[in-house]
Amino acid sequence: MTDATANTAPAGAGQGSLLIKDSRTAKRNGAEGRFKMYGLIAVCIGIAMLILLLTSILTSGLSAFWQTTIQIEVTLPEEKLDKSGVRDPEVMAKVTTFGYAPLLRDGLEATIAANGIETELSAKDAAELISDESVAQLRNRVLRNPDLIGQTVSVEVMASGRIDGFYKGRVTYASAERDTNISPAQLQLAEALEDKGLLNTSFNWLFLTAPDASDTRPEAAGLGVAILGSLYMMLIVLVLALPIGVAASVYLEEFAPQNRWTDLVEVNISNLAAVPSIVFGILGLAIFINFAGLPQSAPIVGGLVLTLMTLPTIIIATRAALKSVPPSIRDAALGLGASRMQSVFHHVLPLAMPGILTGTILGLAQALGETAPLLLIGMVAFVREYPEAPWEGGLFDPATALPVQVFNWTQRSDPAFVERASGAIIVLLVFLLLMNLTAIFLRRRFERRW
């Protein structure tokens, strides 16, 4: 047999020197190199996509944190704002924003004249540089502090969305020619104001605190209500999902007998983890809103839906943490006379706590970024009122959530809202980053290996 094989072996193959590569070896080595290269390329594509994604969001969103403002001197005449002269905010509230708009217009005109800027624009056209929202802001400021009436105050007003866009590169002279909302002359005026130091760009705190604004005022749109709504929902998820999740996992991991019922629960949990999130939205709409009669757009409904959605994540993480506690700990506690319940609650659970908290934070992070189920329970509504504090029934007030606000802004026509949406995503990602860093810290600092 051996002889026969040796005789029939093809000449050349495997018979040359080990030091000289034959063509077949070269081919195989080439294939090896190519294969390795494919792998490297795949890894690089993954990382490149991450970088591309983040840069795309950052470049279009970072500018949302800056806002162009105009410094103008406004006279607040008593005869227009407070005819009674009693300085009572309730009486003064009768003067609507229509009463304040001319003041800003006159103020801008006076400021332009005082600084010797020449413009062919009428006072009305020049006033289009100022955001409509500034009128309401001025009114609120006066109502808070009635003593300002009769004085000439220096106010910093928001520039309109187009002027803001001009300084962020979104609007140019060429595009202004075709735009009915802005003219090149207005841009020239803005540049003249900038030369005099009256038009500045500063950090946009209002973006983080103000509520949403209407379609025509992208410069005033903020995330205040959305951040508050997301915070409320995270609170509900934490309060409900953590105890329920821990109780369920402790039962399944430590106490459950091996029977049909336990099997059913386990299969259910693993299936729920893979159910599309939008199905949870349908559940929320059908059960919590239509059946139980809870209000639409309320953080309580969003929180309940997100709780049901994150429960499987938390249960799976908690069970893994419980599993990693060695049986010797339980045996020692039982041997000293502790009951099973005592051994779990006094020894196993505290040792598993870092893992449980890590899993909970990751579940919360998943809930924070979830959008689809919230769309179905009406959180996409336009909400300008801040919800009350949670103990005053704020959980039942209408609110929005960060990711839903992003979606809401992408559906609007003004391109300035794309910038706002990207800015909101940066805020969302910062929150997620903080949560994940906390989870990593907990794991590094407290996790024990046996």
Binding site: K36, G39, I45, P243, I282, F407, L432
Partner: protein, 487 residues
């Protein structure tokens, strides 16, 4: 009485029950805690558990059931003419509820007192509601006002009954526990059994959730098929819902939606599976420790990014790029939202999903198989292709199926990237739509739960649920079967 007050009172009762039960137990053994059956804290916990659990349970059930029963009885009392033509009883009911809320705030702000309520005219209440900015579905009628008044009265008296019942139950439970709190009472056993029951209840929430999903989907889907033929739904190739009130019959065929879903998911998998698989192979078989410790977390970051971020990425970057670079020059259309956009971005989203699942599976292949293959003279890539991948194949197939289920159920990327036009087309640069997009668009905004245009969303949801559930079960089945080979 507001809910927060009830909860606060319950907390106080619980604390008192805890302290009383504990001190009474200690008192029965003359202060010598060693003669107790259990540690003192268990007597206290027994008191608190007995006071709180039944009361909180009653509160939850009451809050759930009361609005349903109340609505039903008010509706039954509503005279026949109260429901206007073209309106539904549900709309009238929501008006009744709004008027009742208006009465509530009217009384709390002092506009009128309880006694004056009987004499209020339709105009008075209408003016009051208008001044508070409450909008009604239709003009306020006398019938609605009468119903609202009785609704309001029933609601306020029921809320008092509930408060008394809940607090009474808490007091009874607490008192009973305190009276049983003696030295020989086996408090620890009772508390531990109670805690176990609570834990079983927590574990059952998973089943309740599934049950809730299935029941709500089935119930509304059955409603839908009562109004719309199921053959039309499953086999019609047109999707054109007409909005209620505008007339005309809707055509609600699921086929164009399924086609869009499958087309986008296929593109996503074509992107994600090779990249994810090769990345997993490289990271587990070739990469050095240092490279792996940097690259693996970086790729996994992709999995932690919310899908709305991918959606925005598709909308502002990928969509316009594909349109300007490929679709317009090739004459394939000029839509920024397209199957290709959504598919590519979804593929990126799925890369870490495929790679981390495959990574686990490849690492589970026994080292002996690698060593055997290498020892026979195979190169590393030959070992991977001819030994490791075949051995890991069932697991990899399972991972791909799970990724497919993810892709089919994904919503935000397709809402922002794929467009809203339902069509059966092969051109990947054309806007198409998916099942999830249509669920969102049929259920947001004004919805009327009596019209097939809204109810169709539940039928779509059920289809989606069944497809993804089937894929998940199949994947788990394959993975389990594979695991048995090496254990």
């Amino acid at each position: 009485m507001p809910l927060s007050w009830i909860l606060l009172i319950l907390a106080v009762i619980g604390t008192i029950a805890f302290l009383m039960a504990r001190s009474r137990a200690i008192a029965t053994v003359d202060g010598d805690a060693r003669r107790l059956h259990s540690l003192p804290i268990y007597y206290g916990l027994n008191g608190a558990l007995m006071a709180l659990t039944p009361a909180l349970g009653l509160l939850a059930i009451w809050l759930l059931v009361q609005p349903i029963l109340l609505d039903r009885s008010i509706l039954a009392d509503l005279p026949a003419g109260a429901v206007p033509d073209g309106g539904t009883a549900a709309l009238v009911m929501s008006d009744v509820r709004r008027v009742a809320d208006g009465i509530d705030s009217g009384i709390s702000s002092g506009s009128f007192t309880r006694d004056e309520l009987r004499d209020l005219s339709v105009e008075d209440v209408g003016g009051l509601l208008a001044s508070e900015g409450t909008a009604l579905g239709s003009a306020l009628t006398g019938e609605v006002l009468t119903a609202a008044t009785s609704y309001w009265q029933a609601r306020s008296s029921l809320s008092w009954i509930m408060t008394i019942a809940v607090i009474g139950l808490a007091l009874i439970g607490g008192a009973w526990a305190v009276s049983r709190s003696r030295g020989e009472f086996r408090a620890r056993n009772v508390v531990e059994r109670g805690v176990l029951i609570l834990m079983i209840a927590a574990a059952s929430i998973a089943i309740l959730t599934t049950l809730g999903i299935v029941l709500s989907l089935l119930f509304e889907t059955a409603n839908f098929f009562r109004q719309y033929s199921w053959t039309e739904f499953f086999f019609s190739t047109t999707w054109s819902p007409s909005f209620s009130g505008r007339g005309g019959a809707s055509q609600l065929g699921i086929l164009p939606l399924l086609w869009g879903t499958l087309y986008i998911s296929t593109i996503a998998l074509i992107v994600a599976v090779p990249i994810g698989l090769f990345a997993a192979i490289y990271l587990s078989e070739y990469a050095g420790k240092k490279f792996r410790s940097v690259a693996k977390p970086l790729i996994e970051i992709l999995a932690g990014i919310p899908t709305i971020v991918y959606g925005l990425f598709a909308l502002i970057t990928v969509g316009p790029f594909l349109r300007d670079a490929f679709a317009s020059p090739l004459g394939l259309g000029n839509s920024a939202s397209s199957v290709m956009t959504a598919g590519l971005v979804m593929g990126i989203m799925l890369i870490p999903f495929v790679s981390s699942l495959s990574d686990d599976i490849i690492n589970a292949v026994p080292q002996a198989m690698r060593d055997g293959s290498l020892g026979l003279g195979a190169t590393k890539s030959e070992t991977i292709r001819q030994v490791i991948v075949p051995a890991a194949l069932p697991g990899i197939v399972g991972a791909v199926l799970l990724a497919a289920s993810r892709a089919i159920g994904e919503t935000m990327i397709v809402v922002l990237g794929a467009g809203a036009a339902a069509r059966l087309d092969l051109n990947p640069f054309e806007a198409m739509t998916t099942v999830t997009v249509k669920i969102v668009s049929q259920l947001t905004g004004d919805t009327d739960f009596a019209s097939p245009e809204t109810l169709v969303a539940f039928a779509l949801g059920l289809t989606l649920f069944v497809i993804t559930l089937g894929l998940n079960v199949l994947a788990l089945f394959i993975v389990r079967k594979y695991r048995e080979q090496y254990e």
